[in-house]
C-alpha cells in the first residue's frame, strides 16, 4: 500500500481542481487508492462481485463530486466516506443477510510448518468473524484495525461520535475474540 503524505497530496488534488484538471486529479485517485478502497469495501460487502460493483459506483460518485471537494478534510477521509456510504447503502438494499458461507477465502497454502498453518487458519477465521458483525460495526472495525485510522478520522468518515466509535470498536473486538476462541 503506497504511503502518501496526506496533507501534501490533498493540496495537490486541490491545486489540480483549481486549474480545471479534474481528470488528472481523478486518475491519480484511481491509481493511488483503488486497492485500499477495494479492501475497505470488500470487508463490508464481503463478496468480491459485490465489492467490484460498489467500487465502480464509488469512483463514479468521486468523479461527479470531485469539483465540490474543498479540502475541509483530507482527501483519503473524503474517499473513504464515499466508499463507506456506498457500501452500507448496498448492504442495506441486499435482500439476504451475509453469512459465513458467503466469505470467499484464499486457499490455504499446504506447508509442513504447523505454525504457519495455524497462522493462516486464524487469519481465515478472523475474516469469518468479521463477516458476523453488523455492517456498520464491520466498517468501523476495518477502519480501526486494518487501516489503523485515528478515531477522529473515522468519526469524519462515518459521521459517528468518537465515544460511539470507541464503544462499537470494543464490542467488535470482544465478539471477534470470542469467535476465535470458540472456533
Amino acid at each position: 500500500m503506497q504511503q502518501l503524505n496526506q496533507d501534501k497530496y490533498t493540496q495537490e488534488i486541490l491545486n489540480l481542481i483549481a486549474q480545471n484538471k479534474e481528470k488528472t486529479a481523478f486518475n491519480g485517485l484511481v491509481k493511488n487508492y483503488n486497492q485500499q478502497l477495494y479492501w475497505h469495501i470488500r470487508r463490508i460487502v464481503i463478496k468480491h462481485d459485490d465489492a467490484n460493483d460498489v467500487l465502480q459506483n464509488t469512483y463514479i460518485k468521486i468523479w461527479k463530486s470531485l469539483k465540490k471537494f474543498k479540502g475541509k478534510s483530507k482527501i483519503y477521509t473524503w474517499l473513504y466516506r464515499i466508499a463507506t456510504n456506498e457500501s452500507l447503502t448496498f448492504v442495506k438494499k441486499q435482500k439476504h443477510t451475509i453469512s459465513i458461507e458467503d466469505v470467499e477465502l484464499k486457499e490455504t497454502q499446504t506447508s509442513n510448518q504447523s505454525v504457519l498453518m495455524d497462522s493462516f487458519e486464524i487469519q481465515h477465521k478472523l475474516e469469518l468473524a468479521i463477516a458476523t458483525l453488523p455492517p456498520k460495526q464491520r466498517a468501523i472495525f476495518n477502519l480501526k484495525y486494518y487501516e489503523e485510522l485515528k478515531y477522529d478520522e473515522i468519526s469524519q468518515i462515518t459521521s459517528t461520535s468518537v465515544g460511539a466509535l470507541k464503544a462499537s470498536y470494543h464490542i467488535a473486538v470482544k465478539k471477534i475474540e470470542t469467535f476465535l476462541k470458540i472456533n
Binding site: 483503488n34 477465502l105 475474516e127
Partner: protein
C-alpha cells in the same frame, strides 16, 4: 492510547496476527479494474433532469395560461352582455315607440283638460 493498549492486552489473538488479506481475489483483478476505473473520467457527466423543477415550471405556465384565458373569456362575455343589453334596451325603446305610433285614438289617455266628459262619467259611477 491507554484504552487501545488495554484492548490489545485483553485480546492477544487478534492483535498478535499479521494483518494480511485472506479474502480471495481473481487473478489480475487490480490491473484490469484500474484500467476500467480510468475510463470513468472519459465519459462526460450527464446532468440529471430535475423532474420536480420541470413539473413546477410546467404547472406555473399552465396556471398562468388558464388564468389569462379565463380573464380574456370573462372580458368577452361582459362585452357581449353589454352589447346584448344595449341592443335589448334599444329594441324595447324602439318597440315602445312603435307601439306609440300605432296607437289608436281611442287608446290614448284622456285629456284631463277636457273635464266635462270626465265629470259625466264619474256621476254615472256614483249612481251605480
Amino acid at each position: 492510547m491507554k484504552t487501545l493498549k488495554n484492548i490489545e492486552k485483553k485480546t492477544p489473538i487478534l492483535f498478535g496476527l499479521d494483518k494480511e488479506n485472506q479474502l480471495k481475489v481473481p487473478d489480475g483483478y487490480f490491473e484490469s479494474i484500474e484500467n476500467k476505473l480510468l475510463l470513468i473520467s472519459d465519459v462526460k457527466p450527464v446532468i440529471p433532469l430535475n423532474y420536480k423543477k420541470i413539473f413546477i415550471s410546467i404547472s406555473s405556465i399552465a396556471a398562468v395560461l388558464i388564468i389569462g384565458f379565463s380573464i380574456y373569456q370573462n372580458n368577452n362575455t361582459n362585452q357581449d352582455t353589454n352589447t346584448f343589453n344595449t341592443t335589448f334596451n334599444q329594441l324595447t325603446i324602439a318597440s315602445f315607440e312603435e307601439e306609440m305610433l300605432d296607437t289608436d285614438e281611442t287608446d290614448l289617455p284622456i285629456d284631463f283638460e277636457d273635464t266635462k266628459e270626465l265629470d259625466i262619467n264619474i256621476n254615472l259611477i256614483d249612481e251605480l
